[in-house]
Amino acid sequence: MKRLLQFLFNYRLLALIKKEFNQIRRDRRLAISLILPPVVQLTLFGFALSANVTNIRLGVVDDSRSPESRELIATLTESKSFRLAGYYFSVNELGDAVSRGNVDAGVVVPYDYARDLARDRPTTVQFLLNAMNANTATISRAYAEGVIQSYNSGLRGKGINSRVQTVAGMDLARRGQVQLQPAFLYNPGLVDSWFIVTGVFGLLLILNSSLVSSAAMVREREAGTIEQLLMSPASTSEIIIAKITPLFILLCMMMLVAIAVLKLAFDVPFQGNILFLLLGGALCILSGISIGTVIATFSKSAQQAQLTSFFVNPPLSSLSGALNPVEAMPKWLQPVTVLNPIHHFATIVRGSTLKGSGFMDLWPNFLGLLIFTIILVSLSVWRFRKQLS
């Protein structure tokens, strides 16, 4: 223990760390790239990416032209989900409007609508949905069916005709209905941005850590000063620790800025223990730094390092479940997310902020993140050493 402390706090190491800090302090671009991205990316992603489905433009073909059909259309359009975009005379005209993109959905009321209702015969209303976007189509279909269902239950209570039916329907063979009562836990207001920003938070930590660290690692090589470092009495592990420590501290500060943005700009609730968040974030930063270091050892200049990161970042970020649910990926790709530190971190963030999960729930993710960090750090140290010798 004493030896370890001695090793960690000897003058050489402190001097090296001080040198790194000085270098970072002089590099204004680096300082900006630590403050700006968390604020800009979090707010941009949080506000711009919203899967909310409201104000679907609805085109109407009303062949019935009766008070009943107008009531149905009013019921549809008075909800926030649909907005009346126009009346059309024929189904063909409506179809043209859908294909030109003037309306997103259409409803066709048949000519015998009012007559059928009065005679208590079932009648069918047609909905046309532009289903290009499968997600929007699924949700708007659920809206449309929900509106019609509540319209139906309103209809049933009215008029002598239905009264008679209710009395007649009270036979013993009638079975009760299942009434599903959904309750939304953790996010009763269904705020979209919470899911996005908690995911982007993980992307931000890993991607920025790797970007900053690869730039810092490659700079020494680009300038040719790496030989001078090697000639000094410092050992390779000391050089590596001295390189990583200041970056780690700065990136941890960036994490705090990002947490502040989450809290202040998006009002994300912090239900659980914030220590989990910080611990997970620290592990995430370490693995990000290691990814950056490995990239740096494969490249000769900052530009090459950046180009190489184009090969690493897109798969890393798109297979993480940070912006969309993992279940939406194809079956054979889903297990791959277990190998992704961003996935584990996103689960930890969502668990400890929105859900208030405890350590008993989150330990598998911590374990996964820890294993990755250890593997990546040792890989980067090994690559760096190999390169130095």
Binding site: G101, N135, R175
Partner: protein, 368 residues
């Protein structure tokens, strides 16, 4: 003309020489298309749910079987001595269905029985989908058990146009296709142009007999060729793996693709000419080509959802118009009447980029 061709050949040779740039130009777009189109999709299948059956009657088993039979939900087991919330907190399930005691008795007596659905709403969109699916299943179950007499007087018949299988691959595939073309060709163009400034080889260009327009056009044609090659490769993938076809007249798509290739190549050249530093211009392209096109062009979510304070920016995002053209060509088939204006805008934005690049060239001369 000969000088333009020579310049184009020189650029293409430079691209082929570095394996990184070559892979960036041809392999990465395919990887991106395969990964992103599945990874940003939001429609989910096979969501894990937990059922807590406090009734354990034949009626409740029937209801659970109805849930189990759908492809969107699958029931996972959960020990009875743990509460439902624990299943959600441990990420074992996305939702919990709780069937109360006396469920079967109530149903048989003709009394409506409530069933609770607890949804993990930390992902709001998925929560909405789950609640929609569960409601649909319940409605179908009610209709089946109660018979047609119970069904409401007004029925809905929903027709899904353009993508009847609700495959999100078909929606995101064209989007990511546009993202790939908006990102890699301008990146290479910006790097090549910034390199001329950084290494001061631009001076050699100035002393040679080539004019500014010839030089720029030569470069832009080279990167247009890269963009069109990418486009071709990715289209092959769209037509096979994604199962897309031209839904109507393909000419707007073809013309828009050539114009868009010009637009992105000019964008890259413009960035490289105005920021003669490779690392910085790469970041600028990453911002313009990736972030703006990814966020503000309706690639993932509808543009109408962006708050008005940011939404106006999307009117200037070149990728937005091209995405709409591609989706129209491959899914909707509206043809020229639907998209002629968008094709025009892509051309106008491209010409603007070219103009700025040309001005940037003149400034580079002063600086160098």
């Amino acid at each position: 003309m000969r000088r333009i061709v020579a310049q184009t050949r020189k650029e293409l040779t430079q691209i082929v020489r570095d394996w990184r740039t070559l892979a960036l130009a041809l392999i990465l777009p395919i990887v991106l298309l395969l990964l992103m189109s599945t990874a940003i999709s939001l429609t989910v299948n096979d969501l894990p749910i937990v059922v807590q059956d406090f009734d354990d009657s034949s009626a409740s088993h029937d209801f659970i079987d109805a849930m189990r039979a759908s492809i969107t939900l699958h029931v996972v087991s959960w020990p009875v001595n743990k509460t439902a919330e624990q299943a959600l907190a441990a990420n074992v399930a996305r939702a919990v269905v709780m069937i109360p005691a006396h469920f079967g008795r109530d149903i048989a007596r003709g009394i409506n029985s409530p069933v609770q659905l607890l949804v993990d709403a930390s992902d709001a969109n998925t929560a909405k989908l789950i609640s929609g699916y569960a409601t649909q299943i319940t409605t179908a179950y009610n209709r089946q058990t109660a018979g047609a007499a119970q069904a409401g007087p007004v029925q809905t018949a929903v027709r899904l146009w353009y993508n009847p299988g609700l495959s999100s691959k078909k929606f995101y595939g064209p989007g990511v296709f546009v993202l790939g073309i908006s990102m890699f060709p301008p990146l290479l163009a910006a790097l090549a142009m910034a390199k001329e400034g950084e290494h001061k080889t631009i001076l050699q260009v100035y002393v040679s007999s080539i004019s500014a327009h010839e030089f720029l056009l030569g470069k832009i044609i080279a990167f247009m060729a890269v963009a069109l090659a990418e486009c071709f490769v990715m289209c092959l993938l769209l037509f096979t793996y994604f199962g897309l076809r031209f839904a109507g007249d393909p000419t707007p798509f073809l013309i828009a693709t050539i114009l868009y290739a010009f637009c992105v190549a000019s964008f890259g050249t413009m960035v490289g000419a105005t920021i003669p530093n490779q690392a910085a211009s790469m970041q600028a392209v990453a911002l313009g080509g990736f972030l703006l096109v990814f966020l503000l062009s309706g690639l993932m979510f509808p543009i109408e959802n962006i708050p008005a304070g940011l939404r106006w920016i999307s009117n200037f995002i070149w990728g937005r118009y091209y995405i709409e053209i591609v989706r129209d060509a491959l899914l909707q088939g509206g043809g020229w009447p639907a998209v002629w204006f968008k094709v025009l805008i892509v051309g106008v934005i491209g010409t603007t980029f070219y103009g700025i690049a040309w001005r940037g060239m003149r400034k580079m001369q002063v600086k160098a």
